[in-house]
Subunit: 121 residues, 2 copies
Amino acid sequence: MNTQDVANDLVTLCKQGKFAEAGEKYWADDVVSVEAGAPGGGDPVSRGKDAARGKGEWWEANHEVHGVEVEGPYVNGDKFVVRFKMDMTPKESGQRVTMDETGLYTIRDGKIAEERFFYGG
Amino acid sequence: MNTQDVANDLVTLCKQGKFAEAGEKYWADDVVSVEAGAPGGGDPVSRGKDAARGKGEWWEANHEVHGVEVEGPYVNGDKFVVRFKMDMTPKESGQRVTMDETGLYTIRDGKIAEERFFYGG
């Protein structure tokens, strides 16, 4: 699969809310997942499929998602961008918010070698 | 200036329509500027400030811009993302369109080391 194929399928899965499945299917074993920041000054970089999966599970356990809009993918070379608008409530605060997120994916051998997330909106 | 400072100032200039000024101020001498594609199978990669400037001048000469919305910046590490929605008419086609573009900037020593553009919307 080339970058466009991976991008299209990943976005299709995300539009169905299948974020965990998308990760399992496309994360490389040594995927690097980079957040903009981490709570309590932790490391914003997760290395490896297990760490990426763990981050996803933590996220899912701590947020209630009411709806997601997914735009993209927009491809350039071995990279593509996806935009997410997520209507959700963090369980800790209980305050419903809209999160605007851009995901930047770098593909190598048909797998996600790096994913990097940008927040704001 | 750190990445956030450069990002903020670049977005301020872009919101004022000062794209050329933003480039002059922040492109590194050896900036790499990567389009998603190039007309006629040309090279989508421009290397160096002169090439980046030339691309901007070509673009400006060949498009009439009616309005631009700029969203961002969204920072992660040494990179940031800016989203542009441009209401414009390519002079060749004469057909007014809205172009949705995401710019990904990589900053080194307070300058743009790489800029990469993703199109769609």
